[in-house]
């Protein structure tokens, strides 16, 4: 059984040191939505996202209530769109971005990431179409986030993509200039993007992932800082050990929430 002091320590971390669940992000594979007809593709994507994430927000809030830990954001990441939409006979992906925005609003998440292309070694036609669509897509949508990976340690940097990115970023800023160029805040350009990334704005669902996955992001810098100041003046080893232990505790909390499989099945609503 837990002890009162353990309960108190956990609650101090939550209430005074800003320990919280930054985000619960559902990764959804949309490769099975591929269709040459853009309209059909959009319908399939919309249906899959709204079905899989139907209960995401509600269950996120329930978990927050049951454990007394704030869950700040609920979000979605999808397979990089340039891969998923490659079969579409279309020369512009703006409509697809609008579909993502609509789906995000329907399920109540504040961001949906994955309007993305991986072009670190070269660019396919679909990658080019997606990149060209980014400025408009980010200006006509609210919740869609976009990212491009244009370099990796292994394959080097795709300089053509780098050159293109200058124009794209500037155009994104120009099209959203009335809102402080907000479009650029929803856009990430990577070098060495990881295979799967649940963090906005660069989130996308990795192709090596399962059909639908739940990621839990814990925010504990306040907690670490607090512990750190308690040990001010201590030797470096003590500080390292303190940070390590505190981080482990924060992480354990994230793992617990993720492990709640009965909740996960509610998330997935299958």
């Amino acid at each position: 059984m837990i002890s009162i002091s353990e309960a108190r320590q956990t609650n101090e971390m939550i209430e005074e040191e800003n320990l919280d669940v930054r985000t619960i992000t559902m990764g959804i594979n949309i490769l099975d939505c591929a269709d040459p007809d853009e309209k059909k593709f959009c319908e399939k994507v919309y249906d899959k996202i709204t079905k899989k994430a139907e209960n995401l927000v509600k269950v996120g809030e329930d978990i927050s209530r049951e454990f007394g830990v704030p869950v700040v954001n609920k979000r979605i990441s999808i397979t990089p769109m340039a891969i998923a939409a490659a079969a579409c006979k279309s020369n512009n992906y703006v409509e697809i971005a609008k579909t993502l925005d609509k789906a995000a609003k329907e399920v109540g998440v504040n961001f949906i990431g994955g309007f993305s292309a991986l072009v670190h070694k070269g660019m396919t036609e679909s990658d080019r179409i997606l990149i060209d669509s980014v400025p408009e897509a980010l200006s006509v949508t609210e919740r869609v986030c976009s990212s491009i990976n244009l370099g990796s340690t292994r394959s080097g940097i795709n300089m053509d993509a780098v050159a293109k990115m200058g124009t794209i970023i500037k155009e994104t800023a120009r099209l959203t200039k009335e809102q402080d160029s907000l479009g650029c805040a929803k856009f990430v350009v990577f070098c060495n993007a990881v295979e799967d990334n649940p963090f906005m704005a660069g989130a996308f669902h990795g192709v090596g992932e399962r059909d639908c996955a739940i990621n839990v992001g814990i925010s504990g810098p306040g907690v670490v800082k607090e512990r750190w100041s308690e040990f001010a003046g201590a030797d470096f080893e003590t500080l390292c050990e303190t940070v390590k232990k505190t981080a482990l505790k924060s992480r354990a909390q994230g793992s617990l929430l993720r492990r709640k499989r009965h909740h996960a099945s509610e998330f997935l609503s299958e």
Binding site: M1, I2, I4, E6, A7, D62, E66, F67, Q253, L256
Partner: protein, 61 residues
């Protein structure tokens, strides 16, 4: 059933923690949490409900 109860004054605030068994609680846990919050508000205190696992996961490996 109570397992443990502690009452302390922390920085001038009265603070009570109870560890209770909710095996026989029939309603959803969210309802229980909301109900307790409501009762707390009526009494002029902050009442918070949390499942034990959150503490165990952080303090036990």
């Amino acid at each position: 059933m109570f397992f443990e109860i502690s009452q302390t004054i922390v920085e001038g605030y009265f603070n009570m923690i109870m560890i209770v068994d909710i095996t026989d609680v029939k309603c959803a846990l969210v309802e229980l949490a909301e109900g307790l919050e409501k009762v707390g508000r009526q009494m002029g205190v902050v009442a918070k409900f949390q499942r034990e696992e959150i503490f165990e996961s952080m303090h036990r490996i």
